[in-house]
């Protein structure tokens, strides 16, 4: 009787473990492949049918139910326990994620499907049939309940997916180990060997738990080309900095923002045409504004102009501007630009910030991420550009990063045409930035303007000649018909989605 209650406790643990593996696989698949509904339903489907297979296979286990039960526990512990790390690695290496996913789900499901029938057979002798069914199923369902509540509320937030799967692997292995005592009578031979094997499995899994942090970092590193030297998740985005032999790179939500090797090409092209164009009207720039650009690199370029007395940078994410002011490699690269006493950093949504009144700026640099979602798309609307016109004078110059005129040609022209629709005069220009390919910008003003013909001394990329050449657009980057981006149509986000397939690699 005592043995029976203890075995029922096992049912409870097994049920929790079984559901946890299923949830881990579903969550990982959603994370990697997206579309959680599909991922969860296919995982659950494969898992449940594999359980059916396991249940059916149990009939081929003849008289050694107890031994097989322990063996099954150890196997589940090993495969289920390591399922998350295995899947992460497959993802990191970009190989066979899907086949591996369904293979693991299938094997774990089959093994879990074997557990209950075996246990019931073991318990058959000590419990009446109706008691047996009722107790085993009760514990099974309670276990499932505990797992399904604990998983989202406690396990994932506290342990993370990798540790969760390893920890429950240990639980399974402990059940197996314990079984070698509980069921010692019916196992007869080879008990010691079984115990040794259980011990090894547990050691492996514990090792996994200890290494989990390093493993997470390792698998993340595989997703990027370089080695990760910083990673954090702010309220708004995931910030990752990697480094390789030639320099370091910043990624926001997995999208490359710059590479230290060639960012100067991008930032010189973004900043200097606007400032030179302002100066070439015989005006001295005093006030400048950067919208976005939390990495401080555009600011570094602006600070070359000693006449600038007041520089404001508005970036949504305090984590980004903080990083740009404290993280050594970045501070070195941006020459501590955000720490300059003339610079004021504001963390706000640029659209809402523009709703408030501000003194006009002579130069405005717009350096937002590409319009890949609606919250970013709004920063490229006629509404936004109309609000922008409230913080400039007729002489002011605005430069905007406008995606690649080659890979996302419609986006590029949509951004410029939208500015025109908001009564800006815009000159398109482009620069070549190896990390990105051909990149596009717009130089804009409230009044008609001409392209700048001079460049400041001491730049790495631009001189007077290259400055002029930026504004010569090759035919394949030329205008194409586009609609205007408005808050109530967000056509640019659709253009961006449609173009997202075209990348430098696929060309």
């Amino acid at each position: 009787m005592r043995q029976a209650s203890l075995l029922l406790l096992n049912v409870f643990v097994i049920a929790i473990c079984g559901l946890v593996y299923e949830l881990v696989a579903g969550a990982l698949a959603s994370y990697v492949l997206g579309d959680s509904v599909t991922q969860f339903s296919t995982c659950i489907g494969v898992y449940l049918s594999a359980m059916g297979l396991g249940a059916w296979l149990s009939r081929f286990v003849e008289n050694s139910a107890s031994r097989v039960f322990v063996e099954v526990e150890l196997a589940v512990a090993l495969i289920g326990g390591f399922s998350a790390p295995l899947l992460f690695s497959a993802f990191a290496y970009g190989a066979f994620f899907r086949p591996l996913l369904y293979l693991i789900v299938g094997i774990v499901g089959t093994l879990v499907g074997l557990e209950l029938p075996l246990l019931m057979r073991i318990l058959r002798d000590s419990l009446a049939f109706k008691d047996l069914i009722s107790r085993v199923l009760t514990f099974d369902y309670i276990g499932a309940l505990v797992a399904s509540i604990a998983f989202p509320l406690f396990l994932v937030p506290q342990l993370g997916l990798i540790r969760t799967s390893l920890v429950f692997g240990i639980a399974n292995a402990l059940v197996g180990l314990w079984g070698t005592w509980l069921l010692a009578d019916s196992i007869h031979r080879g008990l010691t060997l079984l115990r040794w094997r259980a011990g090894i499995v547990i050691v492996l899994l514990v090792g996994g738990v200890i290494q989990a942090d390093r493993f997470t970092q390792w698998s993340e590193e595989r997703l990027y080309d370089g080695q990760i030297i910083h990673s954090s998740t702010s309220n708004y985005q995931r910030i990752v900095v990697t480094s390789d032999q030639v320099g370091f790179q910043l990624y926001l939500n997995g999208n490359l923002q710059f590479s230290s090797v060639d960012e100067y090409r991008y930032h010189e092209a973004l900043v200097h045409p606007a400032v030179r164009s302002f100066i070439e009207q015989e005006r001295v720039p005093r006030r400048a504004l950067i919208l976005g650009g939390g990495d401080g690199l555009a600011m570094r370029e602006l600070l070359r102009y000693s006449s600038l007395e007041s520089l404001t940078l508005v970036d949504l994410d305090p984590a980004m501007t903080e990083l740009a002011s404290t993280f050594d490699p970045l501070v070195e690269l941006n020459q501590a630009s955000l720490l300059d006493p003339r610079v004021e950093v504001v963390n706000d949504d640029a659209m809402l910030w523009l709703e408030q009144p501000h003194e006009p700026f002579d130069v405005v640099i717009i350096d937002f991420p590409d319009p890949s979602n609606y919250a970013l798309g709004k920063l490229y609307t006629t509404r936004f550009f109309r609000m922008l016109s409230r913080v400039v004078t007729d002489d002011s110059r605005v430069a905007i990063q406008a995606t690649s005129p080659l890979f996302t040609r419609r986006c590029f022209w949509c951004i410029l045409r939208t500015m025109e629709a908001a009564d800006w005069h815009v000159l398109p220009y482009q620069a070549s930035v190896p990390s990105f390919g051909v990149w596009g910008f717009g130089l804009a003003a409230r009044e008609p303007l001409v392209a700048p013909s001079t460049a400041p001394d001491g730049l790495k990329h631009l001189d007077a000649d290259t400055m002029q050449s930026l504004f010569r657009l090759p035919t394949d980057l030329g205008p194409i018909p586009v609609e205007i981006q408005r808050l109530d149509n967000q056509i640019l986000v659709r253009y961006h989605d449609e173009a997202a397939m075209v990348t430098p690699e696929s060309l």
């Binding site: 509904v37 399904s148 949504l316 709004k378």
Partner: protein, 589 residues
Amino acid sequence: MTSPASWNRRQIITTALGAAVGLLPGCRYRRTPLSPLPPGELVGADFSLGHLVRDQARNDSLFDDSQLASLPRVECDVVIVGAGVSGLSAARRLKQQGIDDLVVLELESVSGGTARGDQAGAFSTPVPWGAHYIPAPMKHQTELIALLEELGALEGVDSEGHPIPREEWSPRAPESRFWFRGSWYEGLYAWPGASDDDLNQLHKFESLIDAWVAWRDEQGRRAFIIPADQGSDSAEVRALDRLSMHDWLVSHELTSERLLDYVDYACRDDYGLGLRQTSAWAGLFYFAARQATPEGESRPYLTWPEGNGFVTRFLARGLNRLETSTAVARVIPAASVSERARVIAVRPDGSRRLFAAKQVVFAAPQMLAPYMIAGYDSSALLPWRGTDGEGDNATESNEEAWEAAPATRGEAAREFRYAAWVVANLQLDRAPKETGHELAWDNVILGSKSLGYLATSYQRGDDHGPPVWSWYYPVIDDDPSQPRRRLLELDRDAWAEIVLTDLERAHGDIRERVQRLDVMRWGHAMIQPVPGFRFGAARRLGSEPWRGIHFAHSDTSGLPLFEEAFERGLRVADAIAKRLKDDAGEEAA
């Protein structure tokens, strides 16, 4: 029947949201212990003043001549009863016509009526408490265009000459999404998993609407156009008003569940009525009147964070004699042409005043008229026209429609039926969890009896700050044995529970996110275009002026729409202005 006070949570939830909610997947494992409700309150409706006037209105002895002689007396040309869209538009038009000697009396402490909103209150953005959008006008709606232009709400015209709404006052894209089988999807029609037959029926429905958009009567009038009075009243159109939208669909072999749900949503959204209770005329109006050309797009919307309250605030701004917290208890029509009508108003402190006016605009719901206007209830009707023969729009003699004509004004007024609504505003600390399509302006939970929520803060352009949502719920009595109407008597906490249970389907952690939840209950809020009402005698009669009292409320159009309230206000004002000028001319002569 149990009284609401004795309902338990389960009864309340199932009555409000349907039995299915208790059985949602996920609820099985996650039966969370009821977390404490967020703070909040019942807003709006000044019930104490409301009760005060109701009591007074029933007590005739308070209004005999000796009593009235002792009241402070204010003389003016025009008194307007009610500062909703219709009353405020009438006031604006009268001023434009040079009639400045007017007073607007409003029961509530703020103007706007069912279009009211809060500009700065307990929430991090302005919020609507009632009406929240207007379809951008078509080019023929010149008066509405003029108003909206003054407001700066339009941005030029499109290729066909119809005005384009100002960008930030037009719903942000994506305009709508719906929650369906565990995920959000873009749009309003439940397309995921729709069968070919479902889609064919949807297309058939759309082409039937297109056909109505193209349809013209012998006089070249459209069947459905805003304002509705400019539309056709030919037999073919009137026939649509005799059956329900549901029966109309079925008569066209449109029975697809998904289509019926879609059209049902439209009826609930605009009229607070189910598919089976809405007249087919009104149901088709919703779709066809907003489409300029067959196969064209529906007119884009105009919306503001505080809803149409933005417009009523503008309308009210120019009025120097708008008296809020002033309820009209009685309107006594002028005994002869040379005398003045007397309007008796009560303040919350019980003090009364008498306004003596040449003409009166009654811009409160018609259903109140029998209680408020002396002699109205029992005023017998000459065959089927207004008793004083002032009306000039009842020219056609479609005898059949008048068969069951009411015998008195009061009887006619009692045929006006109104939908009840509940609106809740929620302050969240940050975006709750969700799966599927990104947030939209309008977020509809398919299968819910609520209409879902508007992402009010999102519409303001705020993507990262604390969200504010506005939740809408029409109280629909489709089954008289269901005590649904009693829902309206539920307190704030019961409503908060309903709102959160509803939203929990799509946002599992909503209870943790919500910081404040205020509730507005609207008792008699929207005229219901049930079959027979739009082309029936009662409505016609209710919109006829009576002894110098002119009826402007949107209910006299049979449609609870901003444009109708606005139009009625203008027409009534024009009639009054003409009368006053004629009278002045006579006196001078």
